[in-house]
Structure formats: C-alpha cells, structure tokens
Amino acid sequence: MVDDYRVPQSRENLLLKSVGTAGIGAAKLKEGFTNFFKSNIRGSQTPDFILPVNAPNRVPVRGGAEGDGLQPGLSLVRLLNLTGLERVYRNHTRHASGEFNSLEDHTKDFTVWLRDKCQAGDAELERFIAATLDMLNNDRKKHAYQPVWAARWDEFKPYLDHPEGATRWRQALGLKPDSRPCWYAVLKYKVGEVGSLFRPSQLDADWSGYHFPSPAGVPVWRGGFPMDCRGESDRPLSEYVHQQIDHRLDHWTLAGRRVKLGLMNDPLGFQALRRRHHDLLVNHFGEAARQWRL
C-alpha cells in the first residue's frame, strides 16, 4: 500500500496512524485497514479522497475558458447495484411513492420482490427507478456510502449491448463477484455534475484485490484502470471516484433505460485475471508498468 505512488504521504500517514506501524500481523492489518476505510471513506460525509490530503489525485475539470482539465460535458457511467440496496429499501418502505410498501413484510423475499420490480413493464419500471433514485438522494444526506465508482461513457458504450448484458457490464468495470446474481441499473451523467472527480487508489477500494493499481507516469486525468473480470479487454477503461450525488431519472433514461441481471460466473480465476490485467497495462503503457506486483 505504501508503495502505491497514488497514495500521497499525507494519506499514508493517516493510515499508519490508524493501523499502527509495529507488530501488525496480516489479520490485524486487514481489520485495521477495513475499520479505517469504514470511518474515513465509506461512512464519511467528507471522505478523505475529497480533502486536501488527496490533492494529487484530484482530476482537474475544465471551468469554461480557464485552465486544463476534463471537458465538463463528458459523460460518465455508473452501474447502480439494486440488489445491494436491500437494507436501504427496507428502511424506506414508507417512501412517498408507495413503491416499496410491500417490503414492510419482513418475511418478504427481497430477491423475488426485486426481480418482479425489474421485470415489470416499462411504465412500472420507470416508476420504480424514479422512486429508487429519489430514495437514494434523500438517504445520502443521512447515511453516507462512499465512494461512487464511475467510468467514461464513451469507453464503456461498446459493452452496453453485449449479449451477456449486465454480466459483461460488471466484468468490464471490474466489480468483484458477489455471492448472488445482482440487478444493475445503468446511469449516465456529466463530469460537470459531480463536483469533484478523483483518481482512485487502494485506500478508496476497501480490502479488495479486485482493485489494481494504475501504473506510474500516467496522467491523473486518465484515472484508474478497472480490471476486466473476463480478461478480454484490449484497452483499459478509465475509472474515477466521486462522492454520492443526486441522480435524476434522466440519468437512467439517457443511458437507455437499462436494468439487467448480472451473473457472477467469471471464466478465469482471480490470479489469472490479475495477470491478464497486468499484461494489458504493460502492453498499453510500456515496460514501466511491469514493476507492479501481481
């Protein structure tokens, strides 16, 4: 972790202060790191990545006629994991839309409930997504859940109509396999809407081996590079993190009103995936990228 050039000294100091520097076994390191992630990133309304300690990873966004940076009109894509929202849905069963009322019955099978919602007709699905986004917009002000991971829409677009649907979406964006299939909604929004955008580092990715460091020497505005969980990509996508933001229904409609079920059966094992991704980075960015450990 401390060898990751993307982790600034100031953030490294915060981590070391939290987990300690001596007498740490693997289990204690994992526990300390996970706790640090929960307090400083996941549950924080001002996560470390937006603070000055993370300034080197801030992706500049062009402001009108001044400075360099990403064009704010560029589109981002986010996969919203609806299956992962079970607890949030159950906490909002009295939402004004009435969409989640039936979850008041705690014995209701969430998987079946969500499947019925996602496989409903167009109008019903739109109502459900609108209610879900409204629920999240309200919930984020009380319960932080950071960060949001986003990729470039234009880079992700070729995957949208892949025959394996959401399974391929998840794989392309490097989302680690869950213990169950997940329903994903696709959201499309502008760089200029997120406030601030950042290149992710391992510190923002929890205790996850599915996050792979991006090689040194790559400009910050290229972001990170998600590990393709299918191992087939011939060019790395760019990925970024930002805080939770308000999503509007048109973020979903502009993305093609997509909601699909993603499966978790990846063709390659974890180590093979990391090797493939490492090879891709070396092939793409040159020998400097070979220095990273597998």
């Binding site: 990403l70 064009q71 009109g73 560029l74 406030g195 930002h242």
Partner: protein, 362 residues
C-alpha cells in the same frame, strides 16, 4: 453559503443580487464578489449541490433581463459578477437558455472598470453550452468576423472546445478553430509553437485518450482541417499506429528509409508533411535510433537552451537528419533529396521582412 442554502428561492435570489454588488458578507472580501462566492463553496458533492442552487438563482436573475431592465444600484458590477459567476459554473441545463436569450437580444453593453460586459457574457456562454448553436459563432470569431461578442482567436477556440462533446470526443469545429488560431496566433514567430502547444494540451486533457491515439488523431485532424505546416513541430512527428509495425515520421525520413530498405510509403499524412510506413527490423532500428536521437535533442533544447520555436525544431530536425546520413546510421541513398526540400517550403526560416501575407500562405 450554508445559511444562504437554507433560504427560500426568492430570498436566495435577492441575497445573490446584493452579494454581487459587493454588499453584506461580500463587502469585506476585497476581491470581486463572484470570486468570494466561488471560494465559499464546499468541496465535493456539497459543492455540486451548492452550484446547482447558485445556478437556479442566477437563472432567476437572468430572467429579469438585467441587460435591458434596470436592476440593482450598481448595474455594471452586478452584471459583471453575475456573468463571471455563471462562467465558472457548468450548469447548461439551467443557464444555457437565459444566456442564449441575452445573446440574441444583443442589448448588453457597457463595461465594469474596463472589462467589457460582453466579454463576460462570452465567458458565461463558453462554459454553459447546452447544444451546438454557437458553433458558427466561434468560427466567425476565429475569422475575426463576429460583430457583437468580442474575442480573440484563442477565445474562439475555447468556445469550440467547450461545445458539447460528440461521441466522447471534441466537436468537429475544434479542428477548424485550431486551424484558424494557428494561422494568426502570435505575431512573434518564435512564440507561436509554445502557444499552439498550449492549445493542443488543453484539447488532449479535455478529452483524455492514450497518448499514442492522440498523436495519430491530431495528425489526422491537422490534415483534414488544413493546419499550417509549421504546426507539425507541435505534435509528435513520430507517432505509433495501432497496426503492428506501423509508424509515422517526417517525409524526408520516410524517403530515406524507403530508398535504403525498399519499404513503400503506406500513407501520406498532413498533405505530405508526414508519412506512415510498416517497418521491419532493419528499418525499424534506424527509425527508432533517429526518433530517440531527435527526441533527446528536443528535451535538451527545452531544458537547457530554452529554444522552443518551430524554427529551432526545424534546425534540430535538419541536424539530426544530416547526422544520420553522415554517420551512416543508414546508407546514403543515391537519389535522396536533402531534408531542405522538405523543410524550405514548410518551415520558412525567420526573416525580419517576412510579411503577414507570406505567413498566411504557409
């Protein structure tokens, strides 16, 4: 800002109008009120929320047509700060329609301490373009034919750069704007290369791609839009193409390789300024040696001698090419022309009598 966000919309608008005229909290700041407001924004998503609220308030003020109806006690100060604030906030969904209406009324006039208010409108329009309606205006400005909004070639280029992206890339107008800018960017010819490179950097950072892809895209963009050939010194003249073994190079190098290794030119680029070839081992070794030597020379020139002009680039290229022949990195072909035949019509040396009419021809 937190207190302001707690106001009702009407109160927010009224307070904003007062702040923008340097009243209340903004009075003690000592700088333009719009800067004080921007500096008061929180980081991250809270800042995005605050910007949306500000955009709503700005839209409400613009709806009162402050360019034609009296508003506030310090009209010019209010308009200047209002438009500068709008320029710094990218919210085309809220701000594009009222800004476009103000432009189409063509009534905005006056200045605030020497700053033309129409220049502030231009800045606000650049940052909040919701569609491509202004593409023609930016080209008009680049041709110095725009009769309402003031602006330079560079302003026109930034206007084009901020047009809504097309398929994740820049608007096609950008290539032509760069062409217009390159033709008349800088009266001091020793400064035009670094200034044009700044414009290219703003393009490549606005739309991130792999550097190898941008290298090729810029060359194709230049060829299609007819950028002046001196601008060849501003791009990577030795690009790598996606096809295995395919590389680009200045045409004299391509011809030398072609003669020595019997490799044909696969594609002429940028009106013959550069060429693309598929190279095997021997030719590739020469190419890489030439490229590395030239790039090391460029680095040295930039770091040590501080020479950054296109003339210096040409001189370095000429020296590297001659050295490659004289030191027999490559067999001197019997019928190869000097690099001067490539350079002379392309990179005319500086000359005090070099008139602007001559420049535009190249």
């Amino acid at each position: 800002m937190d207190r302001w966000l707690g106001f009702a919309p009407v109160e927010r608008e009224a307070q904003l109008v007062r702040w923008l005229q340097n009243y209340d909290d903004a009075a003690s700041w000592g700088d333009d009120p719009y800067r004080w407001i921007l500096d008061s924004l929180p980081p991250g998503a809270a800042g995005a929320d605050a910007q949306s609220a500000l955009a709503d308030a700005i839209r409400a003020v613009l709806a009162r047509r402050p360019d034609v109806e009296p508003l506030g006690t310090h009209r010019e100060q209010l308009l200047y700060n209002l438009l500068q604030l709008a320029a710094a906030i990218h919210r085309p969904g809220r701000l594009w329609p009222p800004l476009l209406e103000m432009l189409n009324r063509r009534k905005l006039a006056g200045d605030f301490f020497g700053s033309d208010l129409r220049a502030s409108l231009r800045a606000a329009l650049i940052g909040n373009q919701g569609d491509t309606q202004l593409a023609a205006l930016w080209l008009r400005m680049g041709r110095k034919q725009e009769d309402f909004l003031p602006g330079t070639l560079v302003d026109a280029y930034y206007g084009a750069l901020m047009l809504p992206p097309e398929n994740g890339g820049p608007s096609p107008v950008v290539a032509e704007s760069l062409s217009l800018a390159a033709k008349d960017l800088e009266p001091d010819l020793d400064r035009r290369r670094p200034r044009f490179m700044e414009l290219l950097r703003s393009l490549t950072t606005a739309f991130p791609r792999d550097s190898a892809r941008w290298d090729v895209d810029l060359i194709r963009m230049a060829g299609a839009a007819g950028w002046p050939r001196w601008a060849c010194s501003c791009v990577n003249a030795f690009p790598r193409f996606p096809d295995p073994g395919d590389v680009g190079m200045p045409t004299p190098v391509a011809r030398a390789i072609g003669s020595s290794f019997d490799v044909p030119i696969k594609e002429e680029l940028w009106s013959g300024c550069l060429a693309r070839m598929t190279l095997g081992n021997g030719a590739l070794a020469y190419y890489e040696r030439f490229r590395d030597e030239f790039e090391a020379g460029l680095d040295n020139m930039r770091e040590k001698t501080k020479y950054r002009s296109d003339r210096a680039w040409v001189g370095l290229f000429h020296m590297t090419f001659e050295r490659s022949l004289n030191q027999k990195w490559i067999t001197r072909p019997s019928q190869i022309e000097s690099s001067a035949s490539f350079l002379c019509p392309t990179f005319r040396p500086l000359n005090p009598g070099f008139s602007s009419a001559d420049q535009s021809a190249h």
